[in-house]
Symmetry: D3
Subunit: 336 residues, 6 copies
């Protein structure tokens, strides 16, 4: 079960794609999960220029890298979000933001996500990783009170906006892998249950298993894999370290990354509280055979040092399962 | 140290104030923390009708009750909030909501809070309990990314809006006790530190210690009392029970109160995870001499049964400290 | 939701039923869960003598007691067990044991359990509590190795023996409530899952929720209620205290009850580690409306003192849920 | 097993013995553990005035109280201590302190302890509770380094000074019950092992089980009872509450009792972290049949309120064990 | 203290001994703990053919390997077991199983174990590792109830069957090291205490310390070493990982190895919850100087990869203790 | 942030300084924290012989080593201690001990510490690490009772003795870094607070952060760094492993190092319970830029093996922080 190990390029979008490929290959990655950002991957060009995807593949080939998934978190964020504001402006392609009128932004984002599926198909990739956005995330504190029909409406809005997108995914044979994450329609176990139900468990909509936000919510990443076994479409290895001491908070206290008074922080894969080996064994158990992608983020560590170190850490846990069951060896074998 | 035990009337605003007084007295409460809601307390009338406060006091006296603080959480919520929306409309007096234009609502809420101080003074009460609202709460997930100057601006906005209100508080000799709570400018330990700094630690702005939201954030309620000793202006006894099992979430999963898949829920005082005795001992240690107010909320228990039961529970822990130190008894006293 | 509180008579089978009724009524129980042991309830007589059940009901009525369920753990144990040995001889009625030939014992036990359903119906009771026995419990340590088809066969044997019994239950409109317990086909969470599947989730086969053996297996009794919500047919309140100190064992070390070196022991309801309040709230959440039955067992406490004390403990947690939701009280109500 | 419940009078030595008796009887205690302090009990008079003990017993009888043990902690402390200084002067009878020359003080203290045994015998009491002092306690931090022979000498010094005292105990049929405690030769589990070995496990030297100092040292009070079963000669119920939060220390930080920054503090029996029920069950298991004595100390609570409340708490856990074993009730009894 | 590191060959019995030797040597093991299975070691031939042992030793020598112990778990299992059934047939040599009549099997197994001692002696090895079997393991759930004399009889049966075997061990100067394990007479701390007492603590009967089954029983492997210091005759390094989440069970749920819903599973040495370094330090402390044997088993990992990796892991913790005590370096040494 | 990694020479004072330098350089250390012991560093010579320091520096240079701090724990210990006894005699230079008259010893120790500052300056080093001693440590158990003015006097004595020493430090531009440690004036969090206050927070007096004694006191080493950020003058990496099992004690039980019944013990850096990575991140956060010094002590491991291994362990955690903040990479960059 020699799983491919990939590097997610989202946190490296400030570097030219060529440079990221060179680094990833040098460090020992087998491939990349390409972010639709910077010059890494341009969805608009990909769907209009038939040579774009081919050129990307050729570029990867030069470095001995493979691509198994592309990701478009930032565009996905805008599909259901309310409000749409300066934060989206900072992260969206200008063609999606345009005049910034909220409903227009949402619709253009939806179209761009559909195009992302088409672009993935042209790249020969069957998985798009990303976010959904959410109309109701902002009510998470539930005060001032919101009635349950407001919540119901949030899930309905998500389904309504995503069904047409997922139709395109189905048409081109690509699956969407939502990353369970604050700010999204599904950010924990029970909201994932409900989000999957909201889109009628259609196979086009699955999950990108990224345990980093499970850690501070005290969600069990292993149980998540087992319980949503048929919806784990992609795996991102991002790690989180907790430091709750009675003063530091679960909610981050509006403090920036790497601030020592945060209750939790992203750290280099293997430096945090994710039980990686148990998780990889669970992935084996459900028969997941896709890439293991390192989403590297640690505001307290040099990223080049960290992304390289992560290769060794993750590979050490990606050992092969045995070919035969064990008890066989105990059987009587002294007779001929 | 016979502390007064009061009942917060906010969760009983659907009942006539007379009925709430009758119940509170029957159950053994010494007084009430009156919510500025329903017919319990009308700030607008209090500041315009000099007899209103006197009538309230007389009404209380008939039931042998005293008032030590009034609370105006709902109006406070609107002072800094952004957006102002349907949720505020549901909880604000119509004169504050008016046409619902957001900045107008905020300004009228600020004026109403200043009036609440004046009304408190007329009632002979030196503490107003409440919320502040927040312009930046909605960015708590920090994704899509917000820059630190956006956060800075949130605290500045809070200070700018509250300084004039607090001036009125100072003028009438009343203090504001902010309840640390999600959706507010200060919702945990470090945001409380920063909020106090934002208003230059002026004495008019202090805290209502209510540990119910500390529980699920894993904040230490005892440390909070000791570290903010000079700002504990009021005490609300609301309790919370945790049930994190790897699937239930810290954030509530957008589920309603009493839903069995919530990771935490409010429960009748004494049924939850607040270490009440340790907290009361800490309050003794810092010399807090104000009321102990039961904010009763439990969506899984009949409220009349619960509010009555809470009296016995809290009183059993409000024992007197000793008059003299201990080791004295060890001293040699066989000589005469 | 005034739930009936009953006393399980199994641990009192050495006393005449009349005496047990007198005690239960004196202590404040609302009814009894009658064990098919001693003179408490004779299944054979009940199904042949039409006046027997009526006489029992009249006897109960004299003490103001009601019966909601009868239990026949000991006969149930013999239905699937292998081996059948001296231990069964000690606990079975002589007509079931007869000559002790194992398969004959199993078949007579099966017939007796079917009769128990008939007897329950005659008593006007819709639930029989009990055990199933198991052909494979003895392989729990999995050493010497057993192949998976041996395990499969154990569940198949259970299904084969119980389907005809459950047909009789269906015919007379009574349900069987299996108590999840070591020595039985279902003794923990996953074996319960599989046992329910083995009988095709037929409604005649459900569960008696008794958390005492969950405690030392570290199973979550609340999750069990929620996950098997539609199969919780009866509730037994038996409590267990853990004392694991690195030397005491999970498996009991073949030591007798109340031995201080046991890692766990049964204790009077409320003296152990079961989170009773959380469990009762979960029972409310799933809409369980049946009896709460105290199965009292504590080898370190006088049983009369304990069974009486348990009434007060359990009743203090059987508080009423509220009639209306909470947030309503927050709504604006100053307009008229 | 109706155990007598007694009040230790040491913390009440500032009150006349008559007053302490009156209070103890009023609160419901069965007897007193009399401290050799104040006018409570004068060892010197007792051994010289044959009527003194009789008068005490008569005095107790008037209040319906019994005495099962006397205690002489303060004199015991001086027997092995080094240095002897102003602290001892404050707690010793003047006849023992005299000129304060250290070795003289130690020798007079040893003689006074021997007299305490004689006085106990005259009072009809077979147990003297107390401290031993220690020559090596002061080296507990082990820095600056001390060689092992210094430690060995400390235990040898203890044995040498106590053997002659214990000879007197043997002669008058009284046992010494050492309270395991910081500042003494035995202050934890392994020092207790070694101290017992140092006096050759002679039966005259046993233990007063007081778990209050076990709590902050994380010693298991139940294991202590079971492992030293044959040396538990007396039981003192003193309770301790821990509050370690990463800043408060195990060692008390030289802070006074009831200071909120202490890591632990004595609290009213039942308000702390001692698992009392488990401990009382362990005492049942080893067959301890002596008194349960409340050593009440809580610098944050009025002592009269607390000592009264403790009676109810402790009695609620002193339930009777059963007369017969349990499984008997399961036996087949349908045959006649 | 350069301890030899050996590989237990039991889980490799499907491979020719020659191949196992080659692998073990390649991976860096110093020797092997030879299982009496397959062609690894044939007890019957060894005791009858004087050249057999010599040939084995020569074979080992060719690979630079040493043997310190041989193991015969499977034959040991049959000595006390009841029932003897198809499971034993699968694991016993045919000459021991023969016609399968239970008592005959037990007696032949006992004789074979005595021969194993003789064979060990011929191999120049002083330790035989193995199991005892148990007549009473099957009653571990204690329901249906078994009386204490049944338990007593189980230990007596064990002693009766093993004393003659141990006499042979004594005669040939070899010791038996029982592996504490479910299905055996001693499976936890207190059953080990009792089993040792049952054979009068005779030195011929000691223990093979294997912590893998301690992990899920929450037994302290370090305390086990220290408390049974004089009976630790051999060390097997098998590791276990716990995953208890409120649903997975302590008892394994009759699920196969590597099933993700098991509460615990064997894992490659160093991947589990055994505190290996603390254990090795404890072994140093008691002066254990025998081999450290890797019993490698992990149904989720390729065994060749794992057994090789384990060498590095274990050796990294087998560091040398210091030659001199520490504080010496602090001593004043500035004088000449 | 390439921090220098140094070896503290205190535990190697039995070896010639030349040999220690050779070893440290071989193992990969960047420098040494030189202990004022043995021939490592002679304060008396350094202040009188202007060539002594230069010779030391030249010696270091030959091995490519740098010195950032010198330490004089043993002399510091005598400055406030009471009593002064045989323990001090063993660790003090003979010129400081002289006739051993306690007050004379203290005064000579104070002068020697002032000279240590002068010697440091001559060596070009700005930090002296050490102990303070304490007049009141011996009262840590607070029994027999000591009044608060005795405690107050202890801090006053410390301030009085140290102010003149610190004046010399100020004069020569060197800082004292006190190691928080049992036996010293500051041994935990709150005593550190008070000790710093006692010397008026003068900058000459700071802290040597050594977490080894925090571990068993359950003090949070990260919080310590953050809260005393402006007083962390030096860092010593000494590690401690806890083993509390209900019998082992917090206080060490007067047992020697490496005794298996101790509740805690010093272990090779990286083998204990200090969360090193979190600590180094906190040091980054406060801007600490000084040396990371390994104070190696482990009575169960060969020191040469351990000190070498520690270099790799510590360096693996001394990774560089990033040069730029993270979220930048998320920014929209598709526009040109």
């Amino acid at each position: 079960m020699s799983r491919p190990l990939t590097l997610f390029t989202g946190q490296w979008a400030d570097l030219p794609f060529e440079e990221v490929c060179r680094l990833a290959a040098d460090w020992g990655y087998d491939g990349v999960e390409i972010a639709c950002s910077g010059d890494h991957f341009d969805v608009a060009r990909a769907v209009t220029d038939s040579g774009y995807a081919e050129a990307k593949l050729a570029q990867l080939k030069r470095y001995g890298l493979t691509v198994y998934a592309i990701s478009n978190h930032l565009v996905g964020q805008a599909i259901c979000d309310d409000p749409i504001d300066f934060r989206h402006r900072s992260i969206l392609p200008s063609r999606v933001w345009a005049d910034g009128e909220p409903e227009g932004v949402r619709r253009r984002a939806a179209l761009e996500m559909a195009d992302t599926a088409r672009a993935a198909a042209m790249l020969g990739v069957d998985t798009v990783v990303g976010f959904t956005g959410s109309k109701i995330w902002k009510y998470v504190a539930m005060f001032p009170p919101v009635s349950l029909d407001v919540i119901d409406d949030g899930y309905a809005d998500f389904a309504e906006r995503w069904h047409p997108i997922l139709d395109v995914f189905d048409n081109v044979g690509v699956r969407f892998a939502h990353e369970v994450h604050p700010s999204e329609i599904a950010y924990d176990y029970w909201t994932t249950k409900r989000a999957l139900a909201a889109v009628d468990h259609r196979p086009a909509f699955g999950l990108n298993w990224d345990p980093s936000h499970f850690v501070w919510q005290d969600l069990d990443p292993v149980a998540f894999i087992l319980d949503f076994a048929d919806r784990i479409y992609h795996v991102d290895c991002k790690d989180t370290k907790k430091r709750f001491d009675g003063r530091n908070g679960r909610l981050g206290s509006h403090l920036p990354w790497a601030h020592p008074r945060r209750g939790w922080d992203f750290v280099s894969t293997g430096h945090g509280d994710v039980p990686w080996e148990q998780c990889f064994r669970a992935l084996n158990a459900i028969g997941y055979s896709g890439p293991i992608s390192v989403e590297w983020e640690d505001a307290g560590m040099d990223r080049r040092q960290g992304a390289q170190e992560a290769v060794g850490f993750v590979r050490s846990l990606l050992f092969d399962p045995p070919s035969a069951a064990f008890d066989a060896a105990f059987a009587r074998n002294d007779d001929a």
